[in-house]
C-alpha cells in the first residue's frame, strides 16, 4: 500500500471498523443543484460510515429507473463534475459548520471522467478530499493498463464490483487488485430493481464470505430497509443503500431530520 493510501479515509475506516458499515448513495444535484453539501452533512451527522456521491450521466446503463431519473433531474439542474468539485471544495475544512470527515466516494460513468481528464479528475479528488471512486464501465484490465498509476499517484481508491456470475478466479484477481473494499452486487441486476434477499442471494453471500478475501466487502443493490441491511451485514462488512435513499429524498426532503430518520430506519 502506498503512503497516500495509508492516509485514505476509507482504508483507515476499515482498519478500525469492520461490522455493519453503512454506505449511502445520493446523486449530486438532486433534488436541487446545491443540495450536495446539505445532504452530505446530513448523512455525516446521522452517522453514516461512507457517503457515495453520484456524478450524473445521460446514459447510466447499470442503474434502474430511480437513479436514472435522479441523474436526469440533476443534469437538467446543471450538475457537472466541475460543479461538483466546486461544491465540495471547502467541505473538509469548513470553518462555519462542522467539517466533513466522513469518507467520500464518487460514483459515475467513465465518459464524463474521460472528458474531464483522468489525471485532472484524480488531482481534483485529492484536492477536495474525495477518497475513492466507483466507475462501473471502466473495466478492470483497462484501468490497470492505463489509469492505475494515476489513481495511485493521487491516493484515490478505485472500488471494483463483483456479481453472482463473477468466477472465483476473477474474484481472486479483483481482490488482489483492490484497495479499500469490494462492492458485492447482490444479484444479477441494475440498481433499485431487487426486492428482499433471496435464498440464492444468501448462498452467494456465503460463498464469497468463505473465500476469506483480503479486502472487506460491502453489499449493494436491493438493500433498502433494516431487514436487508441486517442480512447483508451478517455476510459482509456492511451494505450500500442507493435507490431507497433517493426515493426518500424525493418524498421526505433533504433536512437533517429527514436524513436522520432514514438512516435510523436502516440501522435499527
Amino acid at each position: 500500500m502506498t503512503q497516500e493510501l495509508t492516509q485514505n479515509r476509507i482504508t483507515s475506516l476499515f482498519s478500525h471498523k469492520s461490522e455493519r458499515l453503512l454506505n449511502v448513495y445520493f446523486t449530486a444535484g438532486y433534488p436541487n443543484l446545491n443540495d450536495t453539501t446539505t445532504i452530505l452533512r446530513g448523512l455525516q451527522t446521522a452517522g453514516v460510515d461512507i457517503v457515495e456521491i453520484g456524478m450524473p450521466y445521460s446514459d447510466p446503463v447499470a442503474d434502474g429507473e430511480t437513479i436514472q431519473q435522479s441523474n436526469g433531474v440533476a443534469l437538467d439542474n446543471g450538475m457537472s463534475i466541475k460543479t461538483l468539485f466546486a461544491q465540495l471544495a471547502d467541505c473538509r475544512n469548513d470553518t462555519h459548520g462542522e467539517p466533513i470527515t466522513v469518507p467520500i466516494l464518487l460514483m459515475g460513468y467513465i465518459n464524463p471522467v474521460l472528458q474531464f481528464g483522468v489525471e485532472n479528475f484524480c488531482q481534483k479528488c485529492q484536492e477536495v478530499g474525495v477518497d475513492g471512486v466507483i466507475l462501473p464501465d471502466l473495466p478492470l484490465d483497462l484501468f490497470l493498463e492505463e489509469y492505475a498509476p494515476t489513481f495511485r499517484k493521487y491516493g484515490i481508491l478505485n472500488v471494483h464490483l463483483i456479481t453472482p456470475q463473477t468466477t472465483e478466479a476473477r474474484i481472486r484477481f479483483i481482490d488482489t487488485e483492490s484497495d479499500g473494499f469490494i462492492y458485492m452486487v447482490s444479484s444479477a441486476s441494475i440498481t433499485g430493481s431487487v426486492k428482499g434477499v433471496s435464498a440464492t442471494m444468501k448462498t452467494y453471500f456465503e460463498r464469497i464470505k468463505a473465500m476469506n478475501l483480503r479486502n472487506p466487502r460491502l453489499i449493494g443493490f436491493g438493500i433498502n430497509d433494516h431487514e436487508t441491511f441486517d442480512t447483508a451485514s451478517q455476510f459482509a462488512n456492511g451494505a450500500i443503500v442507493g435507490s431507497a435513499f433517493i426515493r426518500h429524498l424525493s418524498e421526505k426532503g433533504t433536512s437533517p431530520e429527514s436524513i436522520r430518520a432514514f438512516v435510523e430506519t436502516i440501522r435499527s
Binding site: V61, N111, Q115, E146
Partner: protein, 399 residues
C-alpha cells in the same frame, strides 16, 4: 485521450477489441461474464463447418442471397459515373439487417441461450431479430424508443405479428440510444439465459467484429459480381450510409485493405450540422465511450451524450461503430454529412429513375453521390441497404 493500447496499422480488430484507438469493452462487471463468454467462443463457433453450412444455407434459402448487383443506368447517366446498386433491400425483411441476426441467432443457440433481447431504431433490426426468433422458436424481446415506435409503426406491428414483445424505451430521447440502454439493462438483469443481438457494429468487443463478419457477405458478393460484370473486383468507390454502421462495415469489409477503393460513408446531418438537430457524428463528435466502446461520440463539453436528430430513425444515433471511427481518424474513409432534405430528394430521385424506393437511411448514401465530384469513368457501388416501404408515411408528406 491516452492511447497506449496497441497502435496498429491494419483495419482488423486487435486481440483486445481495438481498431486503432477505438473499440474495447467498456462494460460494467455485471456484463463481463456474458461478453467474455461471447468473446471466448465467437470465432470458434463461426469457424465451425456445421455453423458455416447452416449459416450459408439460411442466407441462400431464407434470406434470398446472393442479392443482385444492379447497374443503375438512368441514375448513372444522371450522376455522370457508372453506378451499381447492391440490392440489400431485396433481402427477406427488406434490409441487410437479417445477415447479422441469422448469424447471431446461430451463435446464441450454440451458447445455449433461450431468450433474445435486441434494440431497434427504424425497426428493421427489430423485425430481422423477431424473424429469426420465430424461425428458431426463441423468445424475443425488442426495445424501441417510444418516439421511434410512433414513426415506424408498421415495423412495430410486424414484430408483434412475428411473436416478439416490443417494449417502449421511455428514457432520454426515446430513440435508438435509449433503446440500446434498455436492452443492455435487460441483459444485466438476465445474464445467464439471454443473448443480446446488437444490430450494428457498435457495443463492446466482440460485437463490432462479429457483426462486421456477418455483414461482410455484402462485399464478398460485390467482389464476385463486379468481377463478372467489369473484369475487376474493385470499384473506385464503395458508398454506404452510417448510423452505427453495419451495412457500411459489411460493404467495406473486403475492401478495407484495397487502398484503390475509396470508402465513402454518408452520415445524417439532420436539419444541418450546425442547427443542433443533427446526427453527423464525425462532424460533431469527439472521442468518448458509449455502449461499451470507445468511439467518436456526440457529446457536451462535460461528456454527456447529446440527443441526435435525423429524419431517418436508423441513423439517429450519437456514435458510430469503432471501425468507422478508425476509418475516419486514419483518413481511410471519406465522410459526408447529408441533410434530411438532400436524403429525401435522393430517395424520390431513385424512385423515379430506377423504380426503387429506398429506405430513408439508404437515401443518405445516394445523396452522397451528388457531392463526390465523380468522373465519367468512375465505377461506384452503393450499398442499397434497405427498402423504403417503412418510410412511406414520411415520404408521403413531401409528395
Amino acid at each position: 485521450m491516452q492511447t497506449t493500447l496497441e497502435p496498429q496499422t491494419s483495419f482488423e480488430v486487435s486481440d483486445k477489441g481495438f481498431y486503432g484507438h477505438f473499440g474495447g469493452a467498456f462494460i460494467p462487471e455485471m456484463l463481463y461474464p456474458n461478453v467474455e463468454e461471447l468473446r471466448q467462443n465467437y470465432l470458434n463457433i463461426i469457424a465451425d463447418p456445421a455453423f458455416q453450412a447452416e449459416f450459408w444455407q439460411l442466407l441462400e434459402e431464407y434470406v434470398g442471397r446472393p442479392t443482385p448487383l444492379f447497374l443503375a443506368k438512368r441514375l448513372s447517366a444522371h450522376i455522370g459515373a457508372t453506378i451499381y446498386l447492391k440490392r440489400e433491400d431485396l433481402c427477406h425483411t427488406g434490409a441487410h439487417k437479417i445477415n447479422n441476426t441469422i448469424g447471431q441467432i446461430l451463435v446464441a443457440q450454440r451458447l445455449g441461450k433461450q431468450r433474445i433481447v435486441a434494440e431497434t431504431g427504424a425497426g428493421q433490426h427489430g423485425v430481422a431479430t423477431a424473424t429469426v426468433c420465430a424461425l428458431m422458436g426463441l423468445e424475443c424481446i425488442v426495445y424501441m424508443g417510444s418516439i421511434d415506435m410512433e414513426r415506424q409503426k408498421p415495423n412495430v406491428d410486424r414484430m408483434r405479428m412475428l411473436g416478439a414483445k416490443v417494449v417502449p424505451a421511455t428514457s432520454g430521447s426515446q430513440t435508438l440510444k435509449d433503446a440500446t440502454n434498455e436492452a443492455m439493462r435487460h441483459w444485466i438483469n438476465n445474464p445467464v439465459d439471454t443473448h443480446y443481438i446488437i444490430g450494428s457494429v457498435v457495443g463492446p468487443h466482440p460485437y463490432p467484429d462479429m457483426v462486421a463478419r456477418f455483414q461482410s457477405v455484402i462485399s464478398e458478393e460485390v467482389k464476385k459480381q463486379l468481377f463478372a460484370k467489369t473484369g475487376s473486383e474493385n470499384p473506385d468507390y464503395m458508398v454506404a450510409c452510417v448510423g452505427g454502421g453495419s451495412n457500411a462495415a459489411g460493404a467495406f469489409y473486403h475492401y478495407l485493405n484495397e487502398p484503390t477503393v475509396r470508402l465513402v460513408a454518408a452520415e445524417a446531418a439532420g436539419q444541418g450540422i450546425s442547427t443542433g438537430h443533427s446526427a453527423a457524428t464525425t462532424a460533431l463528435g469527439k472521442p468518448g465511450v458509449l455502449h461499451g466502446s470507445r468511439t467518436i461520440l456526440m457529446q457536451t463539453e462535460d461528456g454527456q451524450v447529446t440527443e441526435p436528430y435525423s429524419i431517418s430513425a436508423g441513423l439517429d444515433y450519437p456514435g458510430i461503430g469503432p471501425l468507422h471511427a478508425h476509418l475516419f481518424e486514419s483518413g481511410r474513409g471519406d465522410f459526408y454529412a447529408i441533410t434530411d432534405d438532400e436524403a429525401l430528394q435522393a430517395g424520390f430521385q431513385l424512385s423515379k429513375l430506377e423504380g426503387i424506393i429506398p429506405a430513408l437511411e439508404t437515401a443518405h448514401a445516394l445523396a452522397a453521390l451528388e457531392k463526390m465530384n465523380l468522373n465519367a469513368d468512375d465505377v461506384v457501388v452503393v450499398c442499397l441497404s434497405g427498402r423504403g416501404d417503412k418510410d412511406l408515411s414520411t415520404y408521403s408528406k413531401f409528395l
